[in-house]
Structures are given as structure tokens and as C-alpha cells.
Amino acid sequence: MEPNPHLLLGLIKQRDEKTFRHLFVLLYPELVIYAQNYLFDRAMSEDVVQEVFIFVWENAETLEIAVSFKSYIYRMVRNRCLNHLRTLKLTDPTKAIETLFHIEQPGTSPLDEGDQEKIRKINQIVSTFPAGMQKIFKMRYYQGHTYNEIAAELAVTVNTVKTQLTRARKRIIDQLSR
């Protein structure tokens, strides 16, 4: 449960560094991973997220947040990432990037909560995997297990795990780029 966004923003406006630090430490890791999904570059992603936080701190006075703080800050990060892609002359009209992110980090981004269409699309892709691949894929991406853990659990070799994940990846990209 997130506290009232107006309350949070009010505290930041009062330069309450403790609140700000708390929010930073809480949201920073997932935001960096979110940004990295667009930028494919860890250092650049960290920079973008830090800049957004600094922007909020600097401009708290004039900010009005109508949605949750988390949605707000996700949106700022996404906008900056899309701006960067624009400088590389790239667009993402079918939201392939966002969908990739959902596959890897289900339920993190608040931006597309309730986007049934996207959830359906992802489930549909994963459900076309053969049973073994599906199991490995879910253990890796949804439950965050290491290759070794998955191999031990399913009594297969680490190589099999890797091969299955590579094949799954190819299927996903195939589906997304249709």
C-alpha cells in the first residue's frame, strides 16, 4: 500500500530528505531495470532514473500529481527513455518493448495495470511453449531462479536450461515482431 501521493509530494516539497530517501531506495532498483529494458544499457539507465529523482526533488514545488507517486515516476522514466530512442530515430508503435518488460518482470510497472490486452498477449505467447520450456522459462523469469537451481530442480543439465531459454527467447521475439 502506498501512502497518499499528495502526502508524499507534500513531504518532498518540505524537503523531507528521509521520505525522499525512502522512496528512492524503494523504487530505484525496479526503475533502473525498467529503463534498461528501453535503453539496453545499465549505466545510462541508472543515470536516467537518478535524473528523474533529482528533477522531482528540485521541482517538487511546482509538481501536481494526480495519479500515484509510483505511476508518476514510472511515466517520467518512460518518457525520458522514449526521448532517447527518438534521438536514435526509433519508435515502438506496437509496444514491443513494454511487452518484453512484462514478460520478464510481470506485475512491476504500474503503468499498464489492467491492460488486459497485453496480459493476454503475453500469456498467449508463453502458453505456446512446450511444457518443459514453459516450466524453465517461468522458473527463470517469474521466480528468479538461477540456471543451477533450475537444473537441479528439474534434473536436467545446465546446458539444457540454457538451450531451452534461448529457444523460448527466439519464440518470443518471433511473436512480438509479427
Partner: protein
């Protein structure tokens, strides 16, 4: 271009028309190529853990960063000696008081980067942490090293080209062990292997390079030649700097060690340089002039310094614009001729250097994004 085409390229499922679209995007800039490689390497890989506490420590400092000191100009004589001013510059930095919005981002110094063009035209971006390995070449400690291939494979000469962008630098090691340091905005073409008993030849297409050539008696090849538009240097075994920026209309060759013979391709004359001698060849007229210099000024860039002695602001700002990738405009042409002495580290934000240049009191700068305007101070 639709991001999807990148995914299709990775999957090998581009249609013919999509392929044309992708190729033209890919060829458009090194940034595009670099981005494509990053996507290919990282798409659908599990992301590493993020350390929020470490990041907070960085951010917290920035939240408290003081605003830049208001540019204050001292009524001191023109032509300040920067070296003398350096310590004062440091003192001034500690005087910053007014705290406020730090959002203006400083202009960072350059870094190790280059674009390698292979024989078949493929381009590879080499960055601060890139690794590259192909045939007899490999990256090592921010340099590109070529190893001697097996003798039978060296019958046909294969050329690669290394281009250093603005705000970049890189080092190249050729198969004979010759080391070449390359400054920003430079391009060099060289064989991926030298052939025994044949002259070693590289072409400095434009820019600045420092060579440490392996003497011919140590390798089974003949003399080493550095060609540029307008002159050819024949190296007898030695270390020297060549500077050949297109916008400067001259080639400057400075010998540090050994001996070189310079052929003026315009007049057909030949000149031998001894250590500490420098020859400047005017590429428009073919006129050239030799003088004795302290070679440290010509080679400081490779040690990570800008070092100027009675150097015009015009030349100084050109060096700065290459290393920081900024555009410089002079409000008044006469300012270009102001001369400065000084040494400063290339490894600092541009704003610090500008502060020192301003301290003399003759000139002031305004920075707007990556555009710098120089004007007479009021």
C-alpha cells in the same frame, strides 16, 4: 524506424523492404550500430541486481550541490598566464556559496572510443569497456592490438580503418609492435599485417597521431611511412607526433626521438628532422618552415593534458571543441588572436577549464547546451 525491425533483424526474419529500411537506419550513425549491438546482447537476459544504496549516495551529493559561482571577472591584464592562475582557480572553486538548483549538467571530458571499419566495410564501435576480437586483432586496455598472423596468410594486404570521433581517443598497436596514439577527430588507415621485406605504410587521413615506430632492423620489414594528403614521412626508427586537422590547413610534424625524413608532396622537397625539431607544412601553398621546439607541447595530449605556450585562443578552443565535442563561436574575430600559456588536465569538466580561461579577465564564455560563445568581457 520501428523497434520491431531490430528484433526481426536479430531473429533473421526481415523482409526485403524491411531489410532496406533497417540497413539505412543502421548505416546512419555509429550510435545506431552501437544500440543495435546492445539490444542483441541484452534482449531477454535477466538483469543484474541494482544497488540502490550506492546510487543514493551519489544522488544525495547532487541534491546538495551548490549552484555555479556567478561568473565574476577580474580586471587583470589580458594574456593571463594560466599556469600561475591554476592555484587561484582551485581556491575560487571552494568559494561557491549560493546553493540552488543543480540541474545544469556539466560537459564531461572525452573518453576512449573509436569506430573500426573492417575490410568489408563493417563498422565496429569500440568504447571504454568494449571487447572485440577478430582474426589477428583484439582489444586490450582500451587499445586495439594486431598480432602477427601465420606467414602464409600475409600475402595479400588487408586494410582496416580506425576513426576516432570528437571527444574520443584510442590507441592502436600494429603487427610490427609500432604503437600509435590517436587523438579526437582522427582517422587512420593501416594494413592488418605487414608483409616481410616490403615497406610498412599507414595513412593518416586526418587528425592527430603520435607514433612510436619499431625500427626496421628489429622486424623483417623495410622503413615505415606515414602518408597524409600533402606529405609523406619516412621513419628511420623513432617517436614523433603528426597533426593534420583539415580545418587547420597545415600539417605539423614534431620529432621527439630518432630521425624522420619528410617529403613535401606539393613542392617535391625533402627535409630531415632531428629531435626537438618541428616542421609546419602549409597544405594550400606547399610552403614549409622548420623550427626548434619543446616537444612536450605537441605531445601533451597523449599524456592527458592540454599544454599551451603562447598559443592563440583560436587554436586552444579548437583543441577544446574536439575533446569536449562542443561548437565554439567567437563574438569578435580579434579575440581569436589572444595568446595564452597554460597546462590543464583533460580529465575534468569543461566548466573548470573555462573558469580558468575567464580568470584572466579578458574574455567571458557562455555555454548553451554544447554551444560555447566567447566574448570580450565588459
Amino acid at each position: 524506424m520501428d523497434f520491431k525491425l531490430i528484433l526481426k533483424k536479430i531473429n533473421g526474419s526481415l523482409s526485403d523492404s524491411e531489410k532496406m529500411q533497417f540497413d539505412s537506419w543502421y548505416q546512419e550513425s555509429p550510435e545506431h550500430q552501437q544500440f543495435f549491438r546492445k539490444v542483441r546482447a541484452q534482449v531477454l537476459t535477466k538483469k543484474e541486481q541494482v544497488d540502490a544504496e550506492a546510487a543514493w549516495n551519489e544522488v544525495q551529493v547532487k541534491l546538495a550541490v551548490p549552484k555555479k559561482r556567478k561568473r565574476k571577472l577580474w580586471p587583470v591584464a589580458i594574456a593571463a598566464s594560466l599556469a600561475a592562475v591554476l592555484t587561484v582557480g582551485v581556491y575560487l572553486n571552494q568559494q561557491k556559496v549560493d546553493y540552488a538548483s543543480p540541474i545544469s549538467s556539466p560537459i564531461e571530458s572525452g573518453a576512449h572510443r573509436a569506430v573500426l571499419t573492417l575490410e568489408d566495410g563493417e563498422e565496429v564501435f569500440l568504447g571504454e569497456h568494449s571487447t572485440f576480437h577478430q582474426a589477428n586483432s583484439t582489444t586490450r586496455d582500451q587499445s586495439l592490438v594486431y598480432h602477427q598472423p601465420p606467414a602464409e596468410s600475409t600475402e595479400k594486404i588487408v586494410y582496416n580503418t580506425l576513426s576516432i570521433p570528437k571527444s574520443g581517443q584510442y590507441k592502436l598497436v600494429l603487427t610490427d609492435g609500432t604503437q600509435v596514439w590517436l587523438n579526437s577527430d582522427t582517422r587512420i588507415k593501416y594494413p592488418t599485417a605487414f608483409i616481410a621485406d616490403q615497406p610498412r605504410e599507414v595513412e593518416l587521413i586526418y587528425g592527430e597521431a603520435f607514433f612510436e615506430v619499431t625500427p626496421s632492423k628489429r622486424v623483417k620489414t623495410n622503413n615505415f611511412f606515414v602518408k597524409s594528403q600533402g606529405q609523406t614521412i619516412e621513419v628511420i626508427g623513432t617517436a614523433f607526433n603528426v597533426r593534420n586537422y583539415t580545418e587547420e590547413d597545415q600539417i605539423e610534424t614534431t620529432l621527439v626521438e630518432g630521425e624522420v625524413s619528410v617529403l613535401n608532396a606539393i613542392s617535391g622537397q625533402q627535409m630531415t628532422l632531428m629531435p626537438n625539431e618541428q616542421v609546419s607544412l602549409r597544405t594550400h601553398t606547399g610552403h614549409w618552415q622548420k623550427k626548434v621546439v619543446n616537444p612536450e607541447y605537441a605531445t601533451a595530449w597523449k599524456q592527458g593534458y592540454f599544454k599551451f605556450k603562447e598559443e592563440s585562443l583560436h587554436t586552444i578552443m579548437r583543441a577544446i571543441s574536439r575533446w569536449y565535442d562542443v561548437e565554439v563561436h567567437f563574438e569578435n574575430e580579434e579575440l581569436k588572436e589572444l595568446e595564452f600559456n597554460g597546462v590543464f588536465s583533460k580529465n575534468q569538466e569543461l566548466e573548470k577549464i573555462i573558469e580558468i580561461l575567464e580568470f584572466g579577465g579578458a574574455i567571458e564564455f557562455s555555454i548553451n547546451d554544447h554551444q560555447i560563445t566567447v566574448r570580450q568581457s565588459k
